[in-house]
Amino acid sequence: MSTTANVIAWIPAASLATAEAAVNPLLASPNAPGTNTFSVKLSPTGSAPATAYGCCAPVNTAVSPELMAALPSLKASLGGDYHVVSWDTYSLQTDCLNWWAAAGLVPILGPS
């Protein structure tokens, strides 16, 4: 059984800057310049503009217990939602795409 959990979350687009500032001190390592933790653009239709941003972050709970403990307060202050899934049972469709869809959110794909 892995000690890693996948933290799947979304925040309102208006909260992006605040959310990044709140999360950054809790990370195991700083993000590269210009990179957001909440990097997945989301909207009700899957088309721009993004109304929310999502992430599906692998977190080793033994390495980053502070981040795991802070999740409830982050949700309360930032809005949006999160849930935690064991890495051992994580499913992209069920735990990420379907969960966002239940909140009325679809990833915005780039040009093809």
């Binding site: 993000n31 990097s39 997945v40 994580y90 992209l92 469709q93 794909l109 093809s112």
Partner: protein, 250 residues
């Protein structure tokens, strides 16, 4: 005389059985071989490289190439891949929405060869395997919805080969020769892309996903190795590399 010839014959036999090594084939670029990096203590959960990634599920922030010593790194903790283990063979997967490891390769304007070894459990519609990608359109990607392999250059020129990947272990080679002919070989059978040639340049810069198109490898598809050569590989050396990769998959 007989003894001498016998000795030479044994020497050749030994030569033909020699394993692949990075020094054997010129042109190897920084590559992503998580199982080998793990065994050498070269996988890390954090960018300071103080927390090693050892067990299945450990996130990978930095993977040091065991052959060139250069680092490929995730741009954020949220973008980390995670270590996988299948029948004792270590690889890595992504979360399917944002996982990448970045390394900016030199721009390839001539022939090149890319090898990928994986253990695939999700190859249907919407389920992809992305050995190499980029924020630009350049990529080497199996796109499950088509299903097809796609190859794109820096100018978004695109070729494809239509064919579903089998589930299970896979060793794939994608290459461009000196005449710009492009091919994909899956488990020993090579196919020409359509169109058959692709000119232009290729500047690969990420393993595991292509953010340009928001296409990422399905977490159920585990990558054991991605080897990149900035030149053609001879048939003899190709056999050695392929044998090495076959040893990495379950």
């Amino acid at each position: 005389m007989t003894v001498a010839w016998l000795g030479m014959g044994l020497g050749l036999a030994r030569y033909n059985r020699r394993p692949w090594s990075p020094a054997l084939v010129p042109g190897l670029q920084p590559s992503y071989v998580p199982g080998v990096s793990r065994s050498k203590g070269l996988l890390w959960q954090n960018s300071a490289k103080t927390v090693p990634a050892v067990n299945a599920g450990d996130p990978i922030r930095v993977a040091t190439c065991p052959y060139t010593g250069q680092d490929v790194a995730a741009p954020s903790d949220a973008a980390r891949m995670t270590l996988t283990a299948d029948s004792g063979k270590f690889g890595a997967n992504g979360n399917g929405s944002s996982s990448v490891l970045l390394y900016t390769f030199p721009t390839f304007s001539g022939p090149w060869t890319v090898y990928a070894a994986g253990y695939l459990q999700a190859v249907g519609s919407g389920q992809n395997w992305v050995p190499l990608g980029d924020d630009n359109p350049v990529m080497v990607t199996y796109y499950g919805s088509s299903p097809a392999w796609f190859l794109e250059n820096d100018a978004a020129g695109e070729v494809s080969y239509g064919g579903a990947m089998p589930t299970g272990s896979a060793v794939v080679r994608v290459r461009r020769d000196a005449s710009n002919n492009v091919f994909v070989r899956v488990n020993g059978t090579e196919h020409a892309f359509s169109p058959a040639t692709l000119t232009g340049t290729f500047t690969f810069n990420q393993f595991g996903g292509t953010r340009y198109q928001s296409i990422y490898s399905n977490p159920a598809n585990h990558t054991m190795a991605t080897l990149v050569y900035n030149q053609a590989v001879s048939a003899a050396n190709d056999a050695l590399i392929t044998s090495f990769l076959q040893g990495l998959v379950p």
